[in-house]
């Protein structure tokens, strides 16, 4: 669907990272973890294209105005990297953005009896909190959160509040283990037992390693991907990734926006 959203708040949660709350119609509460939105952050031609962001959370609150009905919202957790996110960061309460949502497929929560393992790097946390909220209702959940420095490790408190075992790693050791989150993951996985499922989002090199670890350990792994997007609905073919059977002669391209952004790691060609 397409709707106009009002900014409820827009705050910095860590240097360079912000969380924006946007009003939404009721149907937005049914967005699945891993689905995303396309935001037009300003009218006009600069920026021209919408910007894709994961649904970080959804919910309902009571506005302060007496007698007004409860208001539905969704949150976006974002990193300020370029023009569009800078404009988003400068939006004030009561400013409007235009939204296409919910888009994409979302994560498959799988069998609740599995142990659910979340792996997020940097802003890759964005889709995992909403997923965690759903998963903890029925499953045991563990989270592995990585970042370059302390400031890039997001939402640890939120995960812990959900009662999730949370492991943290930073490249420079300023928080948690010094090293890659994938190293911490691998260590823990090798010790574990029972059926497990991994859900990962983060920079491509990280996802590649996670996919590899899961393959070797025989664990089903879902990854959430990013790609430059124009339409967000499978029409422009700008956002494809190579599927596992891809060859020049028998192309197997998948749209990240439509067939993703979540893929089973073994459906993809990791080159």
């Amino acid at each position: 669907m397409q709707f106009k959203s009002m900014v409820v708040f827009n705050v910095e949660i860590s240097p360079g990272y912000r969380r924006v709350r946007l009003t939404a119609p009721r149907a937005m509460l049914e967005a699945r973890p891993g689905q995303f939105v396309m935001l037009r952050v300003r009218e006009g031609i600069d920026p021209l294209l919408r910007r894709p962001f994961c649904v970080f959370d959804t919910g309902t609150f009571s506005p302060e105005y007496p007698g007004t009905p409860r208001q539905h919202y969704f949150d976006v957790l974002y990193r300020v990297v370029g023009k569009g996110t800078a404009i988003l960061a400068a939006l004030h309460e009561k400013d409007y953005v235009d939204v296409l949502a919910p888009l994409g497929n979302g994560f498959d929560p799988g069998d609740p009896r599995e142990e659910k393992i979340l792996v997020g790097g940097g802003i890759g946390l964005a889709p995992l909190y909403y997923l965690a909220r759903e998963l903890v209702r029925k499953s045991r959940v563990t989270a592995f959160i990585g970042g370059r420095r302390k400031e890039d490790v997001l939402c640890v408190t939120e995960f812990e509040q959900l009662g999730i075992d949370t492991y943290v790693a930073t490249d420079d050791g300023t928080l948690g283990t010094r090293g890659l989150v994938t190293e911490v993951l691998e260590e823990n996985l090798s010790g574990g037992e029972g059926s497990r499922a991994v859900f990962a989002c983060g920079p491509e090199p990280m996802l590649k390693v996670v996919a590899d670890i899961c393959r070797r350990n025989g664990i089903r792994c879902q990854v959430s991907l990013e790609a430059h997007m124009a339409c967000g609905m499978g029409a422009c073919l700008g956002c494809v990734v190579k599927g596992e059977s891809h060859t020049e002669a028998a192309p197997d391209y998948r749209c990240v926006c439509k067939e993703g952004p979540v893929f089973n790691a073994d459906e993809l060609s990791w080159e």
Binding site: I45, L48, L49, M229, A230, C231, A235, C236, L237
Partner: protein, 305 residues
């Protein structure tokens, strides 16, 4: 005032209004059904089709540029058989003319595909893409050489009774010469412009920003160039013209119509807002009403110079 008449006929195809969607920017229609009423636009032009499925270019394929975007999709498409099987069933359900944009690597391929499309009753007309700059082997030469364009159009003409629209490339010194060649080969209408070849560099990696190195520029940035070419062609050639390039509003569309276009296509604007084509048609109607113009056809080519 009475509701203004927005209907136009192009290449014999009756459109309820002059707003078509541009090939490659609207998928096969179905993708956008949730965001607009497909029966409120003039026609749907589907993604460029080839005989066999095509892989397209490696990633990244798109990039935002100032006021526009570059794309190097490389004409990825499902191929004619999958089109028939998977896309036509939906298109059959809507009462809006469907125009099939297609291309080949050789004159023979163009003709073979046209012959095949000729047998699909759901197709109101074809748009020959002689101008896609992202295909290395084929396409491009047809789009910049009048003789080659003539050959393609004539070969298609020989095998189909469907109305033929030829989509022209802006990457030429003299667009009128290209238009005339297509007219001589018996095209029914011309559409222009396709994308302009451009390029972007990623300073950080010191690499081209698109895997294909070059890509096609589209969007509001190109509108002045498109309008100029539409004006040149419409004055010089008898065929009806479909104006394309950077149209994002009813005003934009009407400017193309004053410059000589009979209809328009909306491309990049579909990405800015998926309901853009319907909104543009509505804005046109509003303008006509407010300015006392009973029929959009009265405006075609009436620019006062």
């Amino acid at each position: 005032m009475r509701k203004p008449d927005l209907s136009v006929k192009i290449a014999g195809i009756a459109l309820r209004n002059p707003v078509m969607t541009a090939s490659g920017t609207f998928g096969y229609g179905e993708e956008f059904a949730e965001y607009l009423d497909l029966e409120k636009i003039g026609a749907i032009v589907t993604k460029g089709l080839s005989l066999r499925p095509r892989a397209g270019n490696p990633m990244p394929r798109i990039l935002e540029t100032p006021g526009g975007m570059l794309n190097a999709i490389g004409l990825q498409n499902v191929g004619i058989e999958a089109f028939l099987e998977k896309k036509v069933p939906f298109l059959r359900t809507i009462r809006t003319p469907v125009i099939v944009n297609f291309f080949g690597n050789t004159v023979e391929e163009y003709a073979a595909l046209a012959e095949r499309i000729d047998t699909i009753p759901e197709v109101a007309g074809v748009e020959i893409n002689i101008s896609c700059p992202n295909v290395r082997h084929g396409g491009i030469v047809f789009g910049t050489d009048p003789k080659a364009a003539w050959s393609v159009v004539r070969a298609v003409r020989d095998v189909t009774i469907k109305p033929i629209i030829v989509k022209l490339s802006p990457n030429v010194t003299d667009i009128v010469e290209m238009a005339q060649a297509c007219a001589e080969a018996d095209a029914d209408a011309l559409s222009l412009i396709n994308t302009i070849t451009g390029m972007a560099v990623d300073l950080k990696s010191r690499r081209p920003a698109l895997a294909n190195i070059t890509g096609g520029l589209s969007g509001p940035a190109v509108k002045p160039i498109a309008l100029r070419m539409v004006w040149q062609v419409a004055r010089a050639v008898k065929l009806p013209v479909i104006g394309i390039g950077g149209i994002t509003s009813g005003t934009d569309a009407l400017e193309f119509i004053l410059a000589g276009a009979t209809a328009v296509q909306v491309g990049t604007a579909n990405f800015m807002s998926p309901g853009a084509s319907q909104r543009i048609a509505e804005e046109m109607e509003k303008w006509l009403r407010e300015n006392g113009v009973a029929d959009v056809k009265e405006l075609i080519g009436t620019l006062r110079v």
